[in-house]
Symmetry: C2
Subunit: 421 residues, 2 copies
């Protein structure tokens, strides 16, 4: 630890990873699905207070927030909480920093596909398993424990450090938008989403898309007198696969050199028919459409709409009964942060106190980064524990070593970026 200042050493010593893992376990056991985030948010707020943070908890005014064109969600909520814990000097002597993480998690799916109970954190072979352990209660708890260590070491930061626990990231980012409306700004932000501890100054966009494919109902015993929307969907599906291949070949970006498909078009759900012995008169497919860094989102949408229309024009039924494309729910614009911004170099330098230099690469998934960048003008990077490839899956896990490494790196970065007396 020869490279550390005495203050840094004190903070790292105050960073208690046992209690961090215990709290993360507790948080995983609160199933904070969309529209069910409040108990976990209340637990976060209590832990922030216990950690010595000035804790701001408020009811989000969704009626007002929805007027913001950047607002999007898939799951309508009657209520939701904003939670931000802050420490440090408010006199603007130093720079301010936001560490932002989301509390909401996606459904666990069939728990029979899990080796462990998805709603109970299990540490096995150095990995913590559980829904949300990786995406991203792990990173969120690292951020809180970094701030807690600074507070408990008695360090006075020259500027403000804000830990934001937000809802609704998975379905459009209503929680981060609410924090922006609440007035939170900073000179930089870090989102500890799972990046395998790569520093990610760019994120691809993703727009949610819904495609409705019409059929013609009939009694199943005369199925040829109807038109199955299930069969017709595959005309559309083939067109989507071709569009995805074309776009990913065309739109290359140096930060995404390692990806075969940086901008996937993935259909996640289909629903068709309402009776086994009737021919399905409609199929609804929903998915996510990857948007390239710097790409015009409206032009990207038109590309998809045109691809569906062209495919439909080749089909005798769909020509006269065209599929409908609608854009709804999560709308994640692509975003980037200059790679020469001080937060990038400071984060890389702090990370290297414990490991080799981290890679610099873009992330293919949409996240709240674009809201902080576009709506609040805050240079933002993602950097966090674990591999997002394991997210939204059975047996989601985060390596315990990553949690410890990220918590330490965030503590050091906060000290160095903000400054202290």
């Amino acid at each position: 630890m020869a490279d550390f200042t005495p203050t840094e050493r004190n903070v790292l010593a105050a960073l208690d990873t046992d209690s961090m893992l215990a709290f993360l376990s507790e948080l995983v056991a609160i199933p904070s699905l969309a529209d069910a985030e409040s108990p976990a948010q209340e637990r976060m707020a209590a832990e922030m207070r216990a950690s010595g943070l000035d804790t701001d908890v408020w009811e989000i005014d969704f009626a007002n927030l929805q007027r913001d064109p950047a607002f999007s969600w898939e799951v309508e909520r009657a209520r939701g909480l904003g939670v931000v814990g802050s420490i440090g000097n408010d006199s603007h002597d130093g720079r301010s920093l936001i560490l932002n993480g989301h509390i909401d998690v996606v459904p666990a799916g069939d728990s029979a596909n899990w080796s462990f109970d998805p709603w109970q954190a299990t540490i096995h072979n150095g990995r913590m398993y559980g829904r949300g352990a990786l995406d991203m209660k792990g990173g969120l708890v690292c951020a809180l424990w970094a701030a807690r260590a600074i507070a408990q070491a008695g360090v006075t930061l020259k500027g403000r450090l804000h830990i934001q626990s937000v809802i609704g990231e998975e379905d459009g980012g209503c929680g981060t938008l609410a924090s922006i409306h609440r007035g939170y700004r900073a000179d930089a932000a870090i989102i500890p989403e799972p990046t395998r501890m790569a520093i990610a100054p760019a994120q691809a966009g993703a727009h949610n898309v819904r495609i409705s494919v019409p059929g013609l109902s009939a009694h199943g015993c005369y199925r040829e007198e109807g038109v199955s929307a299930i069969e017709k969907y595959y005309v559309v599906q083939q067109a989507l696969l071709a569009l995805e291949a074309d776009r990913n070949q065309r739109m290359r970006h140096p930060l995404f050199a390692g990806y075969r498909l940086p901008y996937p078009l993935s259909i996640g759900t289909v629903r068709a028919g309402n009776w086994p012995s009737s021919v399905a008169e409609e199929l609804i497919a929903e998915g996510r459409y990857g948007i390239g860094i710097g790409e015009d989102s409206q032009a990207a949408r038109r590309e998809l709409e045109d691809a569906v229309a062209r495919a439909a024009a080749q089909d005798p039924w769909l020509r006269d009964h065209p599929p409908q494309v609608t854009w709804w729910g999560g709308t994640f614009e692509p975003a980037e942060c200059p790679t020469d911004h001080p937060i990038v170099s400071l984060l890389a330098h702090s990370h290297q106190a414990f490991a080799p230099a981290p890679p610099l690469e873009g992330m293919p998934y949409g996240a709240d980064m674009r809201l902080l960048v576009h709506q609040a003008g805050i240079p933002t990077v993602m950097y966090g524990p674990g591999d997002v490839r394991l997210a939204h899956k059975p047996d989601e896990y985060v390596p315990v070593a990553d949690l410890i490494h990220v918590a330490r790196t965030l503590a050091l970065t906060a000290l160095r970026f903000i400054g202290h007396t």
Copy 2:
């Protein structure tokens, strides 16, 4: 009316088709979907009593009924009513006859696809539109009005005429099975399902099938690390289409000479995925599998299971993650009635009092006929108003002329088959 006896003339004169259409309209406006049949059943019972029928109304004992191997349903019901109205002599001097019709209807689907409100009968250009007008409140009301005309004409039947209003036909026939358990038997039965007034002494079978296709969940932004159950389903779908083509070429029957596909395999619903930006880890498809006249049902099931297994064996993912086939809900065995049975010739003769000779042909759809034939040993034919091709669709309708024709034919057939003093 020169061919009619004075009694037949009196009965035909007593058959008031205006009130019949008014009552059918009233019945269409009661949305008697599966598990919501009781209000319509109570209305039927009231009308039977008002028509002078001895009316038997009972709570079906589902707990007991479910022990019968012939029991099947898709929609679990806490309660349901049996309703049978009877007239005539119980001393067995004449033959007895059952007229059986179901009160339950399938969902209307999107009412935007209808030209008229599905839950309000509309008579337009000689057709009555509405969900259930055709399938089969129309035929059921014809049967009731035939009995009502006999009662109101003051005719004493030598044997018993039973009008059965049953629930649950669409999802497996629990109502007809309940009537059999209640003890109702007869020398013959007619089900006025829509046959375009063809006499149908045979019905193909239909077994409900559920196929679950496994995928592997992943975040949509790394979709290639998962396996989409939606894409994998199409391996299965192709195998089902090939199986259907093979079976329908192989299993020909003279009563089905007019059908290209007498035994369709039609998938009516699919459900996959639980989050637009996750790769779907399972797809569930449900449909109906046509069974041939005289075919062994268990062998037919094995054919489908084998076809799915063979297709899966050719696919790298499905080979190790085989789709599961389950048989559930509606299980309609094929059934037939000897074409030389007196009910067939009497029905044809009565029909011809008003129109040319009716065709004799099999019906491709499963219905309660097989329960009356196999569980109660009652020779049964189907003969009813309208074209089943319009059932389970938007703009379902029954021609008013067919309703009048069928009501008259059923009244004459009952008089002639049962005999009267």
